[in-house]
Symmetry: C2
Amino acid sequence: IGMVSAKAVVLASKTKKVWRDDPRRVLHSMKVGLALAIVSIFYYVNPIYDGFGVSMMWAVLTAVVVMEYTVGGTLSKGTNRAFGTLLAGALGVGAHHLAVLFGHRGEPVLLVIFVFLIGAAASFSRFIPEVKARYDYGTVIFILTFSLVAVSSYRVDELLELAHQRLSTVAIGAAACICISVFVFPVWAGEELHDLCAGNLEKLATYLEGLAAEYFREKDELANVHVKGEHDDFSHAYRPVLNSKNTEETLANLARWEPPHGQFGLRHPWKHYLKLGALARRCAFHIDVLNTHTTRCEEDPHLSSTEFHEKTMRACAQMCSASGNVLRELASSMRKMTEPSNARQHLKNSGAAVESLTQQVVLGKETVLFGVLRGASMASLLVEIVACTRDIAASV
Amino acid sequence: IGMVSAKAVVLASKTKKVWRDDPRRVLHSMKVGLALAIVSIFYYVNPIYDGFGVSMMWAVLTAVVVMEYTVGGTLSKGTNRAFGTLLAGALGVGAHHLAVLFGHRGEPVLLVIFVFLIGAAASFSRFIPEVKARYDYGTVIFILTFSLVAVSSYRVDELLELAHQRLSTVAIGAAACICISVFVFPVWAGEELHDLCAGNLEKLATYLEGLAAEYFREKDELANVHVKGEHDDFSHAYRPVLNSKNTEETLANLARWEPPHGQFGLRHPWKHYLKLGALARRCAFHIDVLNTHTTRCEEDPHLSSTEFHEKTMRACAQMCSASGNVLRELASSMRKMTEPSNARQHLKNSGAAVESLTQQVVLGKETVLFGVLRGASMASLLVEIVACTRDIAASV
């Protein structure tokens, strides 16, 4: 009993966390409940039930599976379901009429062959990336409906009426879900994508600002006084950006289904967010490598006590804080949907910091300096890669 | 018409590519068709149909949605579906008995309230990461079945028989799918995960070996003769590793559902693959940054003509090819499930290359050298980060 209650406490705290992280999740749950309740009420009202009968069940079924967190998700699933059902229903009725020609014994054989062929072909189409991204659910529904119509056509007499009833009830269920998700506290996939991208830039900025404040100032002014606790606060900030690709792609796919809303027009360039996301990820990869370097230097402070190191550190601090400011400004102007004019200024600062690096550590010509830096950096990276392979070897 | 036929050609070539990339996909499609055909045959056999009636439809429905590419996927969906249906069916019958107590007018009201509450609570539970990862589908089926049973209990008299029929037919459909995916050309999620991890190590090895052969030798021996075409062959090899996290996590989740198979025991440490994957990704991030550096150096060959650069390049070439060899050996011993004894030797070589770097470029004490390298690397990385922020700024 102690085990069970301990697990219950853990579950409760996790539930609370999910709630706090995004209160809209509670709203979404209520919306699902609402959609189900509305469709159920249809079932209890006699005139509607008399029209559709047991087929009304399909409206409930549709409501459960179509209702998604974002408007784009619900729209995509709803239209996929409706068109998948329509197409498969028509094809199923056609298959029935063809099979009937082969007599009572030939009919089931032919129907099974049809189900096998259509099922296999449609399943294969789900592997094509374009189909997978946009019509995966529609394909499943297509296989489902075709099989159901083709199979039950052998037993049911009024096939057309059955198909018609099913299509209507699916449409009712889908329409109820779409209305609720569009009009009751809508969560737009486009807005989520916009916020995600801006949030990712902010996360990178938080890391760079933190590094500039804690690490480089520490080296400059506080010498060897380590403030580990505070360092840890920001040093994981950029992590979520490393693996944001899937979320971004899913949201961008869903955003294309959405009607214009808020500040986003009909043909808002959603694909552009993927490009921005790729650039932010690239920056995050560099930051991840940089983070390894700073951690290594902290572990062994003697490493960094050379003249060369001290000379470059000031320029590093400048580049770091200027880049952080650029990203912060870009994120905030993204959120406000304004021109990033402040960011331009910070961009000039970061360019100036790169310039000052070349002036502080003149080893001959400027071009030579970068060669030295790049060469040293490459060597240093390969030393890290050797360390990586050692870790991997220990783990295999 | 020209447009349509052009699109058809594109689609056909894409289909062919999907086919060639992994012929098992065709087998999977056939297996889906087979599962559907078998369940359909049940529908046509009179004795079975007489036992279940129209409920047999649920077997078809189950077969369509439960059949997944991997054995783990099918097992996970099948058991999720069966237990979700069982639990929700029991709860639905209970809710019906409770609601009946409130008379003919109170019953539908109470049922709608139940559907709303259970629907909302179960939807919310889907946001909890643990539930999402393992029981997401079961929760959907739970909501679905509960709503259907609760709602139709108002109209249907023999509720228990209906629930029993539905559960049996769902079990038949799920069992058919599980048998087919386990016994007919099974695709094990565990094996896929194992291959993915070994393949990722090979991809990293390909890049490092390619770099050692094309780039560093080119610098050493061929001077400025650029062989762009060949460089491009390997320079994208590591890319898929950067975003492999989601696939790995999904496969690891599915692998836990699978029975022992091949070389994998019952409690094979699937979580360990996630750790290995994280290390490989970390290595890929470093390689991505290294790739930026080598590209920049190629763009402007004058950058790299310093004495310091030339001195370090030989050590770089050694570290690069030794690391590549380590990864290649590790991958091959993973595939053969043997001890990586050859890799140990290559690991020693890469360690020796790091040593020789410190000897070739002695700038005083060894520790100081690494300080210089790290400092230079940090500065170089921050220069790249500044460039990144400029790209991002241009893209916002």
